[in-house]
Symmetry: C2
Subunit: 233 residues, 2 copies
């Protein structure tokens, strides 16, 4: 139910609409868009996944190809299965996205102001808007529903969160994580969970500052490869 | 591709069909059925979840009710979202289950032979077949799809696996875990994962014997309660 409308304001003189200072930044503005990814974004997601594997020093563990990603993602409505939010940046305001917009998740747009403009060495390969050469993909988050029996509620599990190197330390990781958390709240979900390396103290501090709890007693078990196949007989 | 068929055996005389000893056990047989749970099983699942919370010494963290479980489970086809396998036992062979059977997952039935018959103090409250007083629910496993970006493949995550106290140390936990693994193999999935308390050395040894790897470096992060709600504004 909507809240009761407030009484009309007593000021009869119309005034120009109030503009938040951060929407008209001076200096080096960077416009940031978070939107639902679709199958047409797979080439960028593929490159981001391989950069993440390099960052985690596990490139030999990464066998994802454009076609294997395309076969396994974006086959269900978003949020009910594997879902990707893409982070795009531009030095000037965005035109409407050429990508289809989801009725329940219109793109969110924010603006940040930088001390120095970003020099992006991979700008060419991460362009994502054929009508605007300056719109590039800067990061992504992949998540899907999980379930807590104790809460008897779904939640979200974040499998990957990645921001390209030249866009780090600008608050974009927090923005992506917060977008997933906001979506969980909107859907009445109980938790957002993810995993972190225990030696990644910077990440742990960052997550704790966001209000997350690091569960020290739990370990993840994994059955894969031949040991998994053995159960298929 | 199927392997080439072996040549027909040279014995022309028909012989009676060979019967495995474990299908006609002597002593104290226990017949075991693993089947997909449905909404009609929610009262049993609710009791099992609360027993699990007691076992983990976290009953104060468990707020699940029959109605909250019923509202959040069994709203999607099995395997594509939250899925429950139920373990039922009976001292005599099962009649066909009164519960609806899923075309892609007919119930699996096994037989075990015990040194002593089981004395089940909660037999009355865990009865699950109105036509057969001896069929009782002994445990469950709740799982759902997860996704590995490095493999570009789905997997399964096991949220809960529980066997009631009087049915432990009979191989039923392994049977439930193995059923999930077999389903993952059948669907071409890449992994089955779950979490274990680091002090639960018996469980860790059991999982390692099943071929699972315990990931020592990863920690689970959780955003919940007020800290989660803060992201909704």
């Amino acid at each position: 139910m909507a809240a009761a409308a407030p009484p009309p304001p007593p000021t009869p003189t119309p005034s120009p609409p109030f503009t938040l200072p951060e929407t008209t930044p001076i200096g080096n503005p960077l416009f940031v868009r978070i939107r639902l990814a679709t199958k047409s974004d797979v080439p960028h997601i593929h490159k981001l996944i391989h950069q993440l594997a390099l960052f985690e020093r596990l490139p030999h563990h990464c066998s994802a190809t454009e076609s294997s990603i395309s076969a396994t993602l974006f086959n269900s409505p978003p949020f009910h299965s594997f879902t990707v939010f893409l982070l795009e940046v531009s030095p000037h305001p965005f035109s409407p996205s050429p990508h289809p917009t989801h009725p329940f998740y219109p793109p969110t747009i924010k603006t940040t102001n930088l001390d120095l403009p970003v020099s992006d060495p991979e700008k060419e390969v991460f362009r994502s808007d054929e009508n605007d050469n300056d719109v590039v993909v800067a990061g992504f988050v992949l998540f899907f529903p999980n379930y807590s029996t104790f809460l008897a509620k779904p939640g979200f599990y974040i499998e990957d969160l990645f921001v390209r190197e030249c866009y780090r330390r600008m608050g974009f990781g927090k923005m992506l994580l917060s977008s997933v958390a906001a979506q969980a709240v909107k859907m009445g979900y109980g938790r957002v969970e993810w995993a972190v390396f225990n030696w990644n103290v910077d990440a742990i501090r960052f997550y704790e500052e966001m209000g997350a709890q690091v569960l020290q007693e739990w370990r993840i078990c994994r059955l894969a490869g031949d040991a998994l196949q053995a159960h298929g007989h």
